[in-house]
Every structure is written in structure tokens, then in C-alpha cells.
């Protein structure tokens, strides 16, 4: 019956749904409906619940916040739900990688740019890792070897940043590679450990233990700066291969909400990202702190989706 609190929260969510839309009162003056477009336990869910606990702890949002998981269709269902709440500032949702990729793969009524952007808070960036037995000790050596013999690089899914990052690097450096797509992290990592793959792209958090034990070596990181836990791994940018895009972990409101609501959330998020709880979350999950507000976030979303769309159309993954 440890779940009874949850249940109470769900009951409140029901009441929130029945509540009428905003009136002339100052924002915010009503219960907030927070959509999590994925099931419990995933990255998106954990970030949302971390944010909500921070908002509650510091009493930043004056009313109740009700979190609801609305999973389905790789995020299409939850984000579609929020998209349909046009103009209602009492709905909010968190974004993650599928926010970019799902609209490229399915006929969603929304695009990442259609929502009212609040803030990009963090980015999922990727690490290029090789087996400990690999000849390549640095990215330069890897690229030199790749020019002689095209390597196989593994990652999760074909429509994903795992494919985009090595593709951008290979185009700049002038080599070709075979991209090997996997469904699950476990299969990808064992494929690399077994020596079947020459390299793999992975979230740093998923391979930290294997890096520490020396079973794998990290060659480069795709973010702006390398998380401290990884030690001295250079970024692709430092080595001359700027990536500039990443999967967005941020917050958006439904389309066409009043300007004051957007401003209120931007101001509040500035406070949230300064809390020790937020820093602890970023550190533990090995995310890159990458903060952009409002229209800058929208521009980032559109740029990222543009790069994705161009590369994936060229490779034939999407039409």
C-alpha cells in the first residue's frame, strides 16, 4: 500500500482534468497537469519527477502539480495530448529524443517546433567507445584506421542520434562506415565486447562501469563538455568535429499559450537549474548541462530536426 500516495495523486489528476480552462486570474493560479509521454521508470519519467520534486520542495509552483504518464506510440500519444490543449497554460510536458524522431517516422499532427518552448535543460550526448583490444587509442587513430578500412559502428536504432553523430564525423573526416543498428542496449554492448563491432555509440551512463574496469575505451564525446565522471575524454568539437546537435531534455507548453505563462516558466526554470538537486540529477545521469530558453530552444529543436531529416533522407531511412 506504498502506492496509495500515487493513487491519491491520480485521483487529483482526475479532478484537474475536469477543471475549466484559464480565466483572467494571474498565472499560475490553477492545478498543473504534467504529461509524461512515456511509462514510469524511463529517462523521461525520471527527469519529470525530479523536476516536480524540485518545484514542490522549493514551493516554486503555488498550486498542485499532477503528473500523469501517457505512454504510447513512442511519445506520440502523450505529446499529441498536450498539443491538443492549445492555449491552455496549465498543461506542460517534458521532451526527450523521440520528440525529434517520432514526427519523422509517423504522421503526427505536431512537430517539435509547434509547441511553446520553455527551456532546454540538458542534453543526451553520445560517447564513441571501442573495445579494449582495439588498435585505436584516440579518435585520430580511429579515423586514420577507418580511412584504410571502413569500420562497423553500432548504435541503438536507425532513426536516432546514435547514427547521426558518426555520420556527421565521417562526412567531415572523409571516411565511410557500416552502421549496425540494435534494438537494445544489452545486445549492443555485448556485440562490442565480443569483438564483432569496431566501435559503438552509447550514452555515457550506460557504459561508465565498463570504462572504469578498462573493458572499453572512450574516444570522444558529442556534447559541449565532457561530464566529470568520464575523466579526460575529449569532445568531438575539441578535435575539430563540431556536432552541435543533441537529443533535447527540456520542457514545452501547448501551442499558443499566453506570453506571460511562457515567461513565468522561463523564470522558474532559471531557479530550478540552480538548485543542488538538479545538479545532482545531472551528475548521476551523466547528462550534459545544456540550457537554452524560449525561442532559442525552439530554434535548437528545429535545427536538430533539420539535421536529422537531411541525413536520414539521404540514407533512405525516411521519405
Amino acid at each position: 500500500m506504498t502506492l496509495s500516495k500515487w493513487a491519491a495523486a491520480l485521483g487529483l489528476a482526475a479532478a484537474a482534468l475536469a477543471a475549466a480552462p484559464a480565466s483572467a486570474q494571474p498565472y499560475p493560479s490553477k492545478r498543473l497537469d504534467w504529461t509524461i509521454a512515456f511509462g514510469p521508470g524511463g529517462g523521461n519519467d525520471i527527469m519529470s519527477r525530479t523536476l516536480i520534486s524540485i518545484l514542490e520542495k522549493y514551493k516554486l509552483y503555488p498550486e498542485n502539480i499532477v503528473a500523469e504518464n501517457r505512454p504510447g506510440g513512442s511519445g506520440a500519444k502523450g505529446w499529441g495530448y498536450v498539443f491538443a490543449q492549445k492555449g491552455n497554460p496549465y498543461h506542460i510536458t517534458s521532451t526527450s529524443g523521440s520528440f525529434i524522431t517520432t514526427p519523422l517516422q509517423a504522421n503526427t499532427p505536431w512537430q517539435p517546433g509547434s509547441f511553446t518552448p520553455v527551456a532546454l535543460l540538458a542534453a543526451d550526448d553520445m560517447l564513441l567507445v571501442v573495445n579494449k583490444n582495439s588498435q585505436a587509442k584516440t579518435l585520430q587513430e580511429f579515423i586514420a584506421a577507418a580511412k584504410a578500412k571502413p569500420p562497423s559502428i553500432g548504435g541503438i536504432g536507425a532513426v536516432n542520434i546514435d547514427f547521426i553523430v558518426p555520420k556527421l564525423v565521417s562526412e567531415k573526416a572523409g571516411f565511410t562506415f557500416s552502421y549496425v543498428s540494435f534494438n537494445k542496449q544489452g545486445e549492443l554492448i555485448t556485440a562490442l565486447l565480443s569483438g564483432a563491432l569496431d566501435a559503438a555509440m552509447s550514452n555515457p551512463g550506460e557504459v561508465l562501469g565498463l570504462l572504469q574496469s578498462g573493458d572499453m575505451r572512450a574516444l570522444a564525446f558529442s556534447g559541449k563538455s565532457t561530464p566529470a565522471a568520464l575523466g579526460k575524454v575529449p569532445t568531438f568539437g575539441e578535435l575539430g568535429y563540431e556536432i552541435g546537435i543533441s537529443l533535447p531534455r527540456g520542457l514545452v507548453l501547448p501551442p499558443d499559450v499566453p506570453k506571460e505563462a511562457q515567461e513565468w516558466w522561463i523564470g522558474t526554470m532559471k531557479k530550478v537549474v540552480a538548485t543542488p538537486e538538479w545538479k545532482a540529477y545531472i551528475d548521476k545521469q551523466l547528462l550534459t548541462e545544456h540550457v537554452l530558453y524560449g525561442e532559442e530552444f525552439r530554434a535548437f529543436l528545429q535545427k536538430t530536426q533539420g539535421v536529422f531529416g537531411d541525413i536520414l533522407k539521404k540514407s533512405g531511412a525516411i521519405k
Binding site: 514510469p40 500519444k77 509517423a106 555485448t190 565498463l210 574496469s213 533512405g316
Partner: protein, 502 residues
């Protein structure tokens, strides 16, 4: 001596009163979650995750792991009683478990499944305790080529699954393969047969199909054949009911199946990506092919229940090996456990067991206790469950459909999957009526996508060369093993056919 010190440390953690409470809470939740069709351990773990934030990691993992392996016990109960698999890994248990219940042997079947689960689970923990490092080596030598050959080995058992009417059996399998191709093509990212729907990007989930085909299909069929008005109006006709405990013959028939199922299950469980469902389906086929009375399979053979049951429990133990020794999740449930490790501030990986021995060994020790508790809980609860099938169909059928539907919806909150379950129910009815093989369909649906993916991954890595399957020592070994099995099968077949010489 290290081993003893470690185990001792583990038990000192596991038997602390607080951890015992968490352990029992875990096995109870696991049983309940396992029994509910559709709603599975990975969903339950994810939902309970926030509750564990304030807990000591060792206590938390003891509870969450107990939910995981406890659900393997619970999942079989509805497989046997209602032909409705509670989890995907207990589909194979319906094949002979339900016929046993229909013959009035639900009691022995449930006791034997509890024993099989206990043997499989415990043997799995013993193997973890003694041999985790060598098995970790096995796990890390498995790339796409090895995985492909393993899946082919599993697919070769389709021959056994297809049953009497080969054309209809093959059609069933092909339908399964076809359903398996729906979704985004892993290699190219092209959408296949999704009609632009976001719900179908991820492919057709196995759980709604299995619940529909077996659970709903069976109910419709039972009504169609008039069971709700004949005799007692229930699954078991009262006069047929026999003794509760298994006979000595049941145990004798099951010994080999127990040993084979546990070993196979553990090995398959260790390999990331295969898991308990594949292990149990493979075990069923193997039992059928080695049996001296294969004609009894599907009509209530005890070995056909015990093999898959020990296999799926051993597999859930086996899945702990890559999780603890490499930080690699082998299944959806262990992926949630891995996420939990990170949230508790641990770094999963090869150093975990050395850095946090009380955590790892506390978990291992608790698994011994948890399996014992589950065996006791099952034996105690079985007489209650057996009452369930004495309910007449006119009450049971509407209620079971209720639970299956809500259970399926609750997995992903998806109405599309709920419709899929309903459609699979209608298909299951017609398949049963007309002699098709739903078992071949689910086996193809599970293994087909794995085979296609690993084959295409292998060929991408090798740039199109088939040599990749013989260049790597482990894949060469599996290839030889598969060929030997096939040869042995053909030889056995021919020698059986040969007329007696004397």
C-alpha cells in the same frame, strides 16, 4: 574460501529482519503481478521504482529482484488454470498445463510447476554463486553472429511445434513471421506495414497476441463446444477430479525435463536479448523432441509443463549474471533494475561485485530465501487457486475477459494493443477450431524478428560475407552443435522408421 566468505556476508545482509520483510513483500507483489495477464514485472518494477529512492540499495534490490523472479512463479498459474499466460515467459506452460487442468489434474500440475520453478530458480542461483565469472565470459562473447545461430537453433524446433497438420502449422508460423515484420525496420529505419501510425512503430507486441490467441480464443472455443451447459458447466467436470498431490510417476517423468530445462534456461537467460520467453519455448520443443512419447505433448504431458517452467525461472536467475558482472541488461525487467542501480548511486559494471559485495551477495543470498518462500507460498495458495476452475463457465468466461482486457490495456495504456488482443482472440478461436497451431505462431512471432535482425546485423558487420559465422570460435561451436542436433534428429527419425531386422 572466498566463496564462503561472500555467501556468509550475503546471508548476513539478507536475513536482517528489515530485509526479510522487503523480500516477502517482493515475492508477494511478484506473485500477484505474475498472475494478472498482461501486467508484467517490468511495469511493476518501474512503478515501484520511486518508492525505493529512500531505501538502502541492498534492501531495495532484494525487493525488486523478488518481484522479478516471483512473477515467473505467478505467471504460470493462469496458464494452467485458464490457458491464459500471465507473462510472455509462461506461454509455453499453457501447452500442456491447461490440458492437465482439463483432465482434473490442476492440483498436481500446479504443484509440479511450483517445484519446477523452485528447482530452476534455485539451480540458477547456485550457478550464479559458483560460476558467475565463466558465464559472464560466455555472455560477452555473444555478438550478432552467435545470436543468430542460437535463434536458428530455436527456430529449428518449429518443426516439433507445427504438429500433425503440416500445411496448417506452417501457415500459422508464417502468420507469426509476418506479424513480426511490422514496425520500423531496425537496419534501415524504414517503416514496414505501419500505415503511418505511431502506435505501430514499435512493432506488434507479443503479450496481447498471446493473451488473445490462448486466453480469449480458448474461452470462445469452450463456449462454442458447449462446455458452459454440459456437466458442471466448468473447465473441469467434477466427476473427473482426482488427487491433489503429484504421483511418484509425475516426478519420475519430470526429472530429465527439470535438469534440461534449468540448464538451458540459465544459459539462455545469461545471454542478453534472448531471455525467459525464448528459453521456455525452446525447452518445450526440446522436451517434445527427446520424449519417448511425443504424441502425449499438447494433451497433458508433465514433462511439457515442467521443462519450460524450470527454464523460465532459471532464465530469470541467469539474467542476473550480465546485470551484476557486466552491468548489461538482458531483458526489459533487468533494464529497469539497471536504471534503479544508477538512481541508488551505484555504478553497474564489472567492478560492482568487488566494490559493493554486500549489495551483490546480499541479492544472491536473498534469492535462495526468496525461491524457498515462493515454493511455500505456492503450495499454500494452490488449493485456493484450484477452486477458481470449479466456477461455471457462465460466470468465469465474462470475468476472465474482463481481467485480460484491462490487463492488456494497462501494460502500455494502449487501446490499439487492446484491439489487437481482441483480434487475436477471434483468430485464436478459428485457429483452434480448424486445426492451426497458435503455438507455432507465437514461436515465430518471438523468434522471427530476432533472427532477421541478427542475420542482417551480422551481414552488415561482415560486409555481406557469410564467413563471419565460421570465423568466430563461439559461433563455429554453436553451428557445429546445431548441425549435430539436426543430424541426430534425422538419424533417430530414420532408425525409428527402419523395419525391425530380427
Amino acid at each position: 574460501m572466498d566463496l564462503f566468505a561472500n555467501l556468509l556476508l550475503g546471508f548476513s545482509v539478507a536475513v536482517s529482519p528489515l530485509n526479510l520483510v522487503y523480500l516477502f513483500a517482493g515475492v508477494m507483489i511478484g506473485m500477484v503481478v505474475g498472475i494478472i495477464p498482461g501486467f508484467g514485472p517490468s511495469a511493476a518494477l518501474a512503478i515501484l521504482l520511486p518508492v525505493t529512492f529512500g531505501m538502502n540499495p541492498a534492501s531495495a534490490v532484494i525487493m525488486l529482484a523478488a518481484i522479478y523472479y516471483g512473477s515467473q512463479y505467478g505467471g504460470t498459474i493462469t496458464s494452467i488454470l485458464l490457458n491464459t499466460p500471465g507473462e510472455s515467459s509462461s506461454v509455453a506452460s499453457t501447452f500442456d498445463g491447461y490440458p492437465l487442468a482439463q483432465q482434473g489434474r490442476a492440483g498436481p500440475a500446479l504443484v509440479m510447476q511450483a517445484v519446477a520453478s523452485f528447482v530452476g530458480g534455485t539451480l540458477g542461483v547456485v550457478l550464479i554463486t559458483l560460476l558467475a565469472p565463466p558465464f559472464a565470459l560466455l555472455a560477452r562473447s555473444f555478438g550478432p553472429p552467435e545470436f543468430f545461430l542460437l535463434v536458428v537453433m530455436g527456430l529449428s524446433t518449429l518443426v516439433v511445434m507445427i504438429g500433425g497438420h503440416w500445411r496448417l502449422g506452417l501457415i500459422s508460423a508464417l502468420i507469426g513471421f509476418a506479424l513480426g515484420t511490422v514496425g520500423v525496420d531496425l537496419e534501415t529505419g524504414n517503416s514496414r506495414f505501419t500505415f503511418g501510425s505511431a502506435e505501430l512503430i514499435g512493432g506488434i507486441d507479443f503479450i496481447p497476441v498471446a493473451i488473445g490467441l490462448f486466453g480469449l480464443g480458448e474461452l470462445y472455443y469452450a463456449l462454442y463446444s458447449g462446455l458452459h451447459v454440459s456437466g458442471s458447466g466448468g473447465i473441469v467436470q467434477y466427476q473427473k477430479e482426482r488427487r491433489f498431490w503429484p504421483t511418484r510417476r509425475d516426478y519420475a517423468e519430470s526429472n530429465g525435463a527439470l535438469a534440461r530445462g534449468s540448464l538451458l534456461g540459465f544459459v539462455v537467460g545469461v545471454l542478453p536479448g534472448a531471455g525467459a520467453t525464448v528459453a521456455s519455448l525452446m525447452s518445450y520443443s526440446i522436451e517434445k523432441s527427446v520424449s519417448r512419447t511425443p504424441q502425449k505433448f499438447g494433451k497433458g504431458a508433465m514433462a511439457g509443463l515442467v521443462g519450460p517452467e524450470s527454464a523460465n525461472n532459471a532464465a530469470s536467475s541467469g539474467a542476473m549474471v550480465p546485470l551484476l558482472t557486466l552491468g548489461i541488461p538482458g531483458s526489459a525487467s533487468t533494464a529497469v533494475l539497471l536504471a534503479a542501480f544508477v538512481l541508488w548511486g551505484l555504478t553497474p559494471g564489472p567492478l560492482l561485485m568487488a566494490q559493493k559485495p554486500e549489495f551483490a551477495w546480499g541479492l544472491i543470498a536473498s534469492m535462495y530465501l526468496g525461491n524457498m518462500a515462493l515454493l511455500a507460498l505456492n503450495i499454500f495458495a494452490i488449493p485456493l487457486f484450484v477452486q477458481m476452475i470449479k466456477l461455471p463457465y457462465r460466470l468465469l468466461a465474462p470475468a476472465v475477459i474482463l481481467v485480460c482486457t484491462i490487463g492488456t490495456y494497462s501494460v502500455n495504456g494502449s487501446i490499439v494493443e487492446t484491439w489487437l488482443m481482441f483480434g487475436a482472440g477471434l483468430a485464436g478461436f478459428f485457429m483452434k477450431l480448424h486445426g492451426f497451431s497458435p503455438a507455432a505462431l507465437v514461436l515465430a512471432l518471438v523468434l522471427g524478428p530476432l533472427a532477421e535482425q541478427s542475420l542482417r546485423q551480422s551481414l552488415t558487420i561482415s560486409r555481406g560475407s557469410l564467413a563471419i559465422f565460421v570465423d568466430r570460435p563461439v559461433s563455429l561451436a554453436i553451428l557445429c552443435l546445431t548441425l549435430a542436433l539436426v543430424a541426430a534428429g534425422i538419424w533417430a527419425h530414420l532408425s525409428r522408421r527402419a523395419p525391425p531386422q530380427d
